[in-house]
Amino acid sequence: MKIGVITFPGSLDDVDAARAVRYAGAEPVALWHADQDLHEVHAVIVPGGFSYGDYLRCGAIARFAPVMTSVLDAARGGMPVLGICNGFQILCEAGLLPGALVRNSRLHFVCRDQWLRVENTHTAWSSRYERSAELLVPLKSGEGGYVADRSILDELEGEGRVVFRYVGKNPNGSLRDIAGISSPNGRVVGMMPHPEHAIDALTGPTDDGLGMFYSVLDSLVAA
């Protein structure tokens, strides 16, 4: 299985996403922002970082990159896409997921090990987890507060599209403690915390994040 990992200028956690793909037993394929070609990958990860510096607004420039046009098309065709941190911001800016991410309520960048609860195990990226399982995964972002209209929040809740929720003290002011959401068909997931940094207890708090990468392989094999 081939999983594409996009590199924009300013992407940082692309190497980590590729490593996580490898740990899960799949082949990571580097995708370049300026290249429309998805190189026949079966799924795509939009990684963390500060694409183009994120000076204007996180993800505001990256969503216009040529590669994103192809990702949007592929996603509409059902390809699994995971946006992590900056990737989540980009997917929201691109309109693939609803809502937006705003400055943390305490204004500072926050890097900490964060407990998450799995709320939906029916997405392409979360099927390996038990419902209500709690994962310990790094969160590291300055603009991680999820906001959306109340009607959209209600819709997300009603359709079970809140995939992960923060447990304990809300770290960034996210509405309804939302840490990650999915598209209606569960193929596209965006989340602020970093599962790719929790694949080995040597370099992360746990290996709780690996399940996400196994999940997508399951979903690809099943498809």
């Binding site: 200028p9 940082l12 000076y55 960048f109 370099t203 992360g204």
Partner: protein, 762 residues
């Protein structure tokens, strides 16, 4: 404005030998100016004057410190040099860590800019040190930051600290460099003069080492990265207001701020671009542009090479209108690099830059001659022997005198101060100390730094040392710690510097890594003060002698003078960074206890009544006087060998070195970080207060699985390292119980330890 008569060319200088020049305003002394005239055989042009003045400044020429720094070289033995691939004098030291890997690391200060504009000052400090590492051909891998501020509750600290922390995080996080450690220290002498020292470590394959040399006549000089603007040319704007330019707008620039704004995104792209250039072998020599900008890069590249250099300055891409040659040469615009490239590689070089959207411009070439010649719209504005600019600046033997107050300071010991003795006083003191700004958790700071990015961070805050994996296949990695206790240095700069070295060395060793090299960032007051120069020379001697005794070389460093407010100098603060290597990071030893059931707590080393200069004396009595703790480097070495053996044979499950705050602090941190309680029994034959709060050096608290205890203690005994069984880990109790003192519930300790910084700075 570029019309001929407005340019102070070499020709013009020759024809106007007596023209008065503002060299004093530029910081040059009369005799220095005379020497420049002597070297050139004429008066310097405006551009030459700008170059010499920045390159001969204290910051670039080390004119007050050079005479002392030589001692580092003189005390480095061949054996110490064996693993050193580049040393003092290069952009950063490089050491061979085995398996074909070379590691480079260096610290730099950005103290004054961080006081003026905390966010940008600190941010550009990180940017600058990262480019130093890139100039060695290495991929930057991690940063550390060593910080000093005024008292935690001072209004100035409230202004400066949050900005500095946000700047370091803002820049470093955006570069994708994990922050793996550092220090935050509060003290009264740093009000109005904070210290912001940033350290960067990078790695490369040993064969890829790129030194800053401009060799091979005909090779092209390429400037790449950001455009050049009016940043940081505060001093040189004096020139623009002087006679030659006759340009109104230039005259108005007199009060330019010398603050630079960083653009971390440009730097990130520059890093990736450089690495691709290195990887494809397109670079003959490379130099970063930091302090003194192009003046420094061109003169250093040329003087380190085998020829001269010719530069067409009007090709430099500019960000501001009407910049003069002097301004362009002195601009400290960030995020720029200068490379020497073979003519046949220029197209490929440019293509790589285009891929990364990095502006690159060929500005000149290496020549056969021995001169650095710089043209501006067809006229020569600089024609100098580059070595005279870069390496033959003035060297001063500043007066050195031990301050007359030093004896009184040393006589004023802590013996007369009230000490807690009964259980309830000890209990209260412990909780108070844990919450003291210098001992409280640094989490408020470190949470703003990304420690995970790139997935190789094995140890980071809270830890005695930061550790990163270099090689994913073999698990080879490096550890880095920085330390300095300015109070000890004030009491005795020689011993204080050795204590800083010992602590940094020990911090690396407790993780199981083997210390192999040293860098420093020497922060002192004004070199014109003989007392400060005494502190400086003592500290340098102490550090160098200490390194020789430990057998690890100083590979580089940085000097920052003039750290003072009015006449009051900061405490001498020679920050010492030690680099260690570990063959397999999976064997690292963490701080937190309780990973294995039934661990025994052992205290290694000797505890003496050493409270002069301690955190206790500072917090409880606001007292500084007496003698610093004794330093025993042979003991530190032994301790280090024991820790490495313990790590290799899996005998140690956790370890934490004892430093500020003594055993009490180490116990609290080991419990809180491990989220596990412990039961401790102090030595009934020794004063409890001394046992808990003395800061004797050469001590480590280790947690040993019960099954390993006999083997480990036998090893210590056999090798002559004193040890004492101090307690046991107690996962059930949820408390740190110190027999006959008190039982401290962990949540009480946590509230005390973690509450302080948020209460001050949120």
């Amino acid at each position: 404005m570029t019309s001929v008569h407005t340019i102070d060319s070499v020709q013009h200088a020759e024809s106007t030998p007596d023209l008065p020049q503002p060299y004093l305003e530029l910081g040059l002394a009369d005799d220095e100016y005379a020497r420049i005239r002597d070297i050139l055989g004429r008066r310097p042009t405006e551009a030459e004057l700008a170059m010499y003045s920045v390159m001969w400044s204290e910051h670039c020429s080390y004119k007050s410190s050079k005479a002392h720094l030589r001692y580092f070289g003189e005390t480095t033995t061949d054996e110490m040099r064996a693993k050193m691939l580049a040393g003092i004098g290069e952009n950063a030291g490089v050491v061979d860590i085995g398996d074909g890997w070379a590691v480079t690391f260096k610290a730099e200060s950005h103290n004054h800019p961080s006081y003026v504009e905390p966010y940008q000052g600190a941010a550009t400090g990180v940017g600058g040190i990262v480019r130093d590492i890139m100039a060695m051909g290495a991929r930057p891998l991690a940063v550390l930051d060593s910080l000093r501020f005024g008292p935690a509750d001072a209004p100035d600290t409230r202004r400066v600290l949050p900005g500095v922390v946000a700047g370091i995080g803002g820049y470093g996080n955006c570069l994708g460099l994990p922050n793996i450690g550092g220090e935050v220290v509060f003290g009264p002498t740093y009000v109005g003069n904070p210290l912001v020292n940033a350290l960067c470590v990078g790695a490369m394959r040993a064969e890829d080492l790129h030194l800053a040399h401009a060799t091979g006549a005909g090779n092209k000089v390429i400037l790449f990265g950001a455009r050049t603007g009016l940043d940081g040319i505060g001093g040189v704007s004096v020139l623009a207001s002087e006679t030659f330019s006759g340009d109104e707008s230039a005259g108005g620039r007199k009060k330019l701020p010398s603050v630079q704004v960083g653009d971390p995104f440009t730097e990130k792209v520059l890093i990736e671009c450089c690495l691709e250039l290195f990887g494809r072998g397109l670079v003959v020599g490379i130099q970063d542009l930091g302090g003194a900008g192009l003046s420094c890069a061109t003169s250093e590249l040329a003087s380190a090479g085998d020829g001269g250099m010719h530069v067409e300055l009007d090709r430099v891409p500019l960000r501001a209108n009407g910049m003069t040659p002097a301004e362009i040469l002195s601009s400290e615009s960030q995020e720029r690099m200068c490379a020497v490239v073979k003519p046949s590689d220029v197209d490929d070089f440019m293509a790589v830059c285009a891929k990364w959207d990095v502006t690159a411009t060929e500005i000149g070439e290496v020549t056969d001659g021995e001169r650095l010649v710089i043209n501006w719209h067809g006229e020569t504005v600089v024609d100098v022997p580059p070595r005279t600019v870069a390496h033959q600046g003035p060297v001063y033997q500043r007066p050195v005198a031990r301050p007359s107050t030093q004896d009184d300071l040393r006589a004023d010991t802590t013996q007369a101060l009230w000490r807690p003795s009964d259980a309830s006083d000890l209990e209260g003191t412990l909780v108070r100390m844990v919450a003291a700004p210098n001992l409280a958790s640094r989490r408020w700071v470190t949470e703003q730094y990304d420690r995970y990015v790139r997935g190789n961070t094995v140890l980071a805050q809270p830890a005695d040392t930061g550790m990163i994996r270099i090689d994913e296949e073999t698990g080879r990695g490096v550890a880095l710690a920085t330390d300095c206790n300015g109070r000890y240095c004030e009491l005795d700069p020689y011993v204080g510097a050795q204590l800083a070295l010992a602590e940094s060395y020990r911090n690396v060793a407790v993780s199981g890594a083997k210390p192999i090299a040293v860098t420093n960032c020497l922060n002192f007051g004004s070199p014109t003060d003989p007392g400060v120069m005494w502190q400086f020379s003592e500290a340098v001697r102490g550090l160098a002698d200490g390194c020789r005794e430990l057998g690890i070389p100083v590979t580089g460093g940085n000097v920052s003078f003039y750290n003072q407010t009015g006449d009051t100098a900061i405490l001498p603060t020679p920050v010492v960074g030690v680099l260690g290597v570990i063959d397999d990071v999976r064997r690292r030893i963490p701080i937190g206890i309780g990973a294995e059931a039934g661990e025994t707590l052992l205290l290694l080393g000797d505890t003496r009544d050493e409270l002069d200069g301690s955190e206790w004396a500072h917090v409880v009595h606001d007292h500084l006087g007496g003698r610093p703790p004794r330093v025993d480097l042979a003991r530190e070495k032994l301790l280090c060998e024991i820790m490495i053996a313990g790590s290799r044979d899996g005998m140690i499950s956790a370890a934490h070195d004892l430093s500020d705050g003594g055993l009490a602090q180490a116990l609290v941190e080991s419990c809180l970080i491990g989220q596990t309680g412990a039961r401790v029994i102090l030595d009934p034959d020794m004063d409890f207060f001394v046992q808990l709060f003395s800061e004797s050096a050469g001590r480590v608290l280790v947690a040993v699985p019960r099954t390993e205890e006999p083997r480990f203690t036998e090893m210590c005994t056999a090798r002559g390292l004193p040890w004492r069984k101090t307690g046991v880990v107690d996962p059930e109790s949820g408390a740190l119980d110190i027999q006959d003192v008190a039982s401290f519930p962990l949540d009480v300790l946590r509230t005390a330890w973690e509450g302080t910084l948020p209460a001050l700075f949120d």
